[in-house]
């Protein structure tokens, strides 16, 4: 004979023993300050994403490439910024790097299609030292001026002139280790105002001598851009990485490492030293950057979507380009000193690949987890809130780096991330 089924009141049980929660309890906001948790819709809602592009990405300075990717006059590099806006960076005959919207003003075609190259080689339907739209042969020089409209006078009789149809130029600065930064807002202040001194503690390493890129990888990851950036803003997840939990976390001083937050949402983790003698294959690290201890490590997160990580022999710069609320283009660059000998460069490359390459031990886990977060938090999944409430005097497992991000996010979006729907 079956026992009668007794429905347990799970709400009562949940209140009593703090065990598993029913839907009502699960859906309640955490009993924390509203700065210490976020509503997961900030990662999944399409309208919030569109607003982020307008309120944040269209208005802040964003790094797009390194100057060593276009070393010579007339070199170019194409990219995209702030969602899906195509851009092309060109080093002019005056060696200055300029950025243009990579859209032909005539019929909206992409003008420069290759990822990188030199304008000194003519396109099939154009002239050297010009960007030529393959569609109708309109040509633009390295300063963005329209240089050629085929049969201009016959077709337009003076109604459209070359002087009227130059390319859309975008504010550009080269700084902080030779990175090319752009800002889509013509009225924006200088880059220095945006970074607010955040780079000062890395200036010697980045700016004493020229850097050079040796590693470039990219992937479109099925996640929200903020989730990827957040992995760089908290080190509590060191538990995920074997070497970190088996060596780094056991080192003296690990828990003393401090975060510094800056205006405009940037956050840094200051110099720490790593016991590389505990890492197989990394016992004899010799190379570093100017002013950096041989076993040092510094990291800086620039709002809204860039991380500089300088770890002994190599600099990694990670840039996120949001494509949609659930897709992010992640670009990772590895850099050394331009003055490296071939042997030194090989050593830096090997070091970089061991940790941060696509076959490295940490990158795969970081990407795996942000992809799985996006799966678990997708709209309608039942996910509600993320907790960012660790407070440990701004030390390594404090989540102040996350809270500083969302403080700036809230300032720009005009509402709290814990209650994000307009």
């Amino acid at each position: 004979m079956n026992e009668p089924v007794v429905e347990e009141d799970s709400q009562v049980r949940g209140e009593r023993d703090r065990g598993a929660r029913n839907l009502e309890l699960w859906s309640r906001p955490p009993q924390l300050p509203d700065t210490h948790y976020v509503d997961t819709r900030v990662y999944t809602d399409r309208s919030i994403f569109s607003e982020e592009i307008e309120q944040i990405f269209d208005r802040v300075w964003l790094p797009v490439c390194h100057e060593s990717e276009l070393p010579d006059a007339y070199d170019f590099r194409t990219s995209g910024v702030a969602g899906t806006k195509p851009i092309v960076m060109v080093r002019g005959p005056d060696r200055r790097i300029r950025t243009f919207l990579n859209v032909c003003p005539h019929r909206g075609n992409t003008i420069v299609r290759s990822p990188a190259g030199s304008l000194t080689k003519a396109e099939p339907s154009g002239n050297p030292k010009h960007m030529t739209c393959m569609f109708h042969g309109w040509q633009f020089d390295a300063l963005g001026r329209c240089a050629e409209i085929p049969r201009e006078e016959q077709g337009y009789q003076g109604r459209v002139c070359k002087t009227d149809v130059g390319l859309r130029e975008i504010r550009t600065e080269v700084a902080h280790g030779g990175f090319v930064w752009v800002n889509l807002d013509d009225r924006c202040g200088p880059l220095a105002g945006h970074v607010a001194g955040a780079f000062d503690f890395m200036a010697q390493e980045l700016d004493t001598e020229p850097l050079e890129i040796f590693h470039y990888q990219k992937a479109i990851i099925r996640t929200n851009y903020k989730l990827w950036h957040e992995t760089s803003r908290e080190f509590y997840h060191d538990y995920m990485h074997y070497h970190n939990r088996a060596t780094g976390m056991l080192q003296k001083g690990y828990y003393d490492r401090k975060y510094t937050v800056f205006d405009n949402g940037h956050a840094a983790t200051g110099l720490t030293t790593i016991a590389y003698d505990a890492y197989e294959g990394s016992k004899d690290r010799l190379l570093t950057f100017p002013g950096m201890p041989r076993n040092g490590w510094k990291q800086l997160n620039i709002f809204p979507a860039c991380t500089y990580s300088l770890r002994t022999s190599c600099l990694r710069v990670s840039v996120m380009t949001p494509i949609s609320e659930r897709e992010t283009l992640i670009e990772i660059r590895g850099l050394g000193l331009k003055s490296d000998t071939p042997g030194e460069r090989e050593e830096r490359i090997a070091d970089h690949g061991t940790i941060w390459g696509p076959f490295g031990r940490n990158l795969h886990e970081d990407l795996l987890v942000v992809q799985n977060q996006a799966v678990a938090m997708r709209e309608g999944s039942g996910s509600k809130y993320l907790i960012m409430a660790r407070e440990e005097n701004s030390t390594i497992h404090d989540e102040i780096g996350l809270r500083s991000y969302f403080a700036e996010w809230s300032r720009r979006m005009g509402r709290m991330a814990s209650d994000p729907m307009p």
């Binding site: 990717e69 290759s114 890129i213 088996a246 799985n372």
Partner: protein, 182 residues
């Protein structure tokens, strides 16, 4: 080191196409290496590699930065370390399947070495990488490229061994990457 051609494209007298016996030994070595990796039999894979001289690299040419780049560079000991650490990582455990076709083998008879060029396609069958409820069991092309192998062919029935393997990738976007070598 075996190079199939001299610096100006001429064929060296010492470098010849493989005879059928050598070709068979090289083919078997390369295909065995793929089967071992596909099966996660890391020890069998390492047994096919020369412990003193083996070097494994994954390279590609990036048109974005207009230079060749190296994404992995390990010797035999380094490869063993990677395999030993696999159970300690939080990996995407989706199996990778290497489909290989050996296209070209040339021999340096004096040195007892062969150089082989093998085209390889690597497929990934989802297990726990994304959403196991929706995607486990789906297979997709993960990467294409080629193996450039140097092989000690030896003589007198000695086993052929890999002296080096360079995985030259055409694919440059490999999603979330991999803890498993290609």
């Amino acid at each position: 080191m075996v190079a199939p051609h001299g610096p100006h494209g001429e064929r060296s007298d010492a470098v010849t196409s493989a005879d059928s016996e050598t070709r068979q030994r090289v083919d078997e070595l390369i295909y065995e290496s793929c089967l071992a990796l596909n099966g996660g039999d890391w020890n069998s894979y390492l047994a096919l590699c020369d412990p003193r001289d083996f070097r494994y690299r994954i390279v590609n040419f990036s048109p974005e930065i207009r230079r060749e780049q190296c994404w992995m560079d390990r010797d035999w000991k380094g490869m063993k370390s990677i395999f030993d650490l696999l159970p300690k990582h939080n990996s995407d455990h989706s199996p990778l399947t290497r489909h290989a076709t050996v296209y070209k083998i040339v021999c340096d008879r004096e040195g007892g070495e062969a150089a082989a060029t093998t085209l390889v396609a690597i497929y990934r069958t989802q297990l726990d990488g994304v959403n196991s409820h929706f995607e486990s069991g789906q297979t997709s092309l993960f990467a294409v490229g080629k193996y450039e192998d140097r092989i000690r062919v030896g003589a007198n029935g000695d086993a052929a061994l890999l002296l080096s393997r360079t995985v030259r990738l055409d694919t440059r976007q490999i999603d979330i990457g991999s803890h498993y070598p290609f």
